[in-house]
Amino acid sequence: MQQSTQSAERRPVDAARAFGHFKDVRQEFLLPTHSNFVAIENITFDLKSGSLVSLLGPSGCGKTTFLKIVGGLIRASSGVIEINGEAVDEPHADFGMAFQQPNLMPWRTVLKNVLFPMELRNDTGAHVTRRAKELLKLVGLEGFEAHYPAQLSGGMQQRVALCRALVHEPKLLLMDEPFGALDELTRMEMQDLLLAIRVKTNATIMFVTHSIAEAVYLSDVVVVFSKRPAVIADYIDVALPYPRTAEIRYSVEFTELEHRAGRALGITR
């Protein structure tokens, strides 16, 4: 595992070692009309250990499909999907997932929702509970442990879901538009929260979004997906300094990166 030395400089990424390796990944679906349709093809790139990579693309382009393939929830039609040198064909214990919807269990309290992954592993010692409480504190939900999800706002629910995705200390965190359903202000708060959490964990993060600004703000690398059938339209190294702050959004470099992503998406010239 690579050291996470978060400082004012750019977060170091171990270029020599690929944590994830994807080659010629292709997914086709059989439609009820018995015709095939290709969701994604020729997806080839490496995922560096400890990096945050965004998959950016128009709605319905297949970026979520690709994320689920990486997570082992969908089996790809063809191609190589390797994480940590192992081929992925089912969900892995070292993976954490956060979805577009918080997917909390209404019958469980906040703390019990966060502990759910540990409960499935029959690992529910006092240290686990302490870790869950620390995570909740980190996302600003201290004192809400005994609340039920229905008593929380959408943003708070998404924070609980984030804690749940992190409680088993995953090496790879897969996030499928987790902030997509939130309002703009909450969304920006959650982005800063994710960056702060990133410092505390060594997790490699793959983040699906259709927001150009979100992708540029969060990532080390933005992989731009084209319209269906999705291929990689651009692979953008985001050389913005850390820690990232709100001011960076108004810098020339930020705007140029947004512009480049926009061109890859075919929005701007």
């Binding site: 929830l73 969900p91 269990m105 019958w107 992954p117 499935l120 609340h147 008593q151």
Partner: protein, 253 residues
């Protein structure tokens, strides 16, 4: 709480209006007590024959509760089997629907032949009518687990057993309770059907004998006690729901 007070005040006000109109009609039109006793007559009969009514309520209540409990004990596991096994689903579900279309009143005499005039026959009929909504609602609930939760369980490598007990079953609880609420009131109806067809005691039995003796007020008092029994059992299930599902009442604050 203003909300719950309103929920109590409005139906009570509605009931008062009906009772006053009823009393006025009976008094002014001089309706015979045999045809339609006034609310005061019914109240007086309920009061004066209190011990008789209470004594006859006990068997009817027990028949309903036992029949309902049996419907839960058999219905929920059956629904679990039907939703988890494709073979059982294909084999049992059509039969279940078919048996439901048989009118229970028509089956009652046969059940009486099998189980006699005692409690067992009423219990069996109460079970038969309460059983169906429990099976159907539980099965519906088990199949209606939100796709997101199923995906979450899969991403966390939950076993089939864990997925069932920790996700599907609790997610189905609200459905089970709505089925149980319907079932418990149906169980009372089932018990009374059984008592009508043949019995030695119970409120249904009392209602029939009071009717045959042209004792209108007592027959109506038995009717009122029956509906109170139904309401009390319904409230009992609603209370169990609040205790077992404390999250359901907690809304946004």
């Amino acid at each position: 709480m203003i909300g719950s007070a309103h929920r109590l005040i409005y139906p009570l006000a509605g009931l008062c209006v009906i009772v006053v109109l009823w009393q006025g009609y009976v008094d002014l039109a001089h309706v015979s007590k045999i045809v339609l006793p006034s609310p005061m007559d019914i109240l007086r009969a309920s009061w004066q024959r209190y011990d008789l009514l209470l004594r006859e309520t006990v068997p009817t209540a027990l028949e309903s509760i036992y029949g309902f409990a049996l419907a839960i004990v058999i219905g929920i596991p059956l629904a679990v089997c039907v939703t988890n096994s494709r073979v059982l689903n294909l084999a049992l579900y059509p039969i279940l629907i078919a048996t439901q279309s048989v009118p229970k009143v028509a089956v009652a005499p046969i059940i009486l032949v099998w189980f006699g005039l005692g409690m067992q026959s009423k219990l069996a009929i109460a079970f038969l009518v309460a059983f169906f909504p429990i099976v159907v609602d539980t099965a519906t609930g088990l199949q209606a687990t939100p796709a997101g939760l199923m995906e979450l369980a899969r991403s966390l490598r939950a076993s089939r057993w864990q997925t069932f007990w920790k996700v599907q079953f609790p997610a189905a609880l609200p459905f089970m309770f709505s089925g149980a609420k319907v079932a418990v009131t149906l169980a009372v109806i089932g018990a009374v059907i059984g008592e009508f067809v043949g019995s030695v005691n119970g409120l249904g039995n009392l209602l029939l004998s009071a009717n045959s003796q042209l004792d209108g007020p007592l027959a109506w008092a038995a009717l009122v006690w029956l509906s109170v029994l139904g309401i009390v059992l319904f409230l009992g299930v609603a209370l169990a729901e609040r205790i077992l599902m404390p999250w359901a009442g907690s809304g946004h604050h």
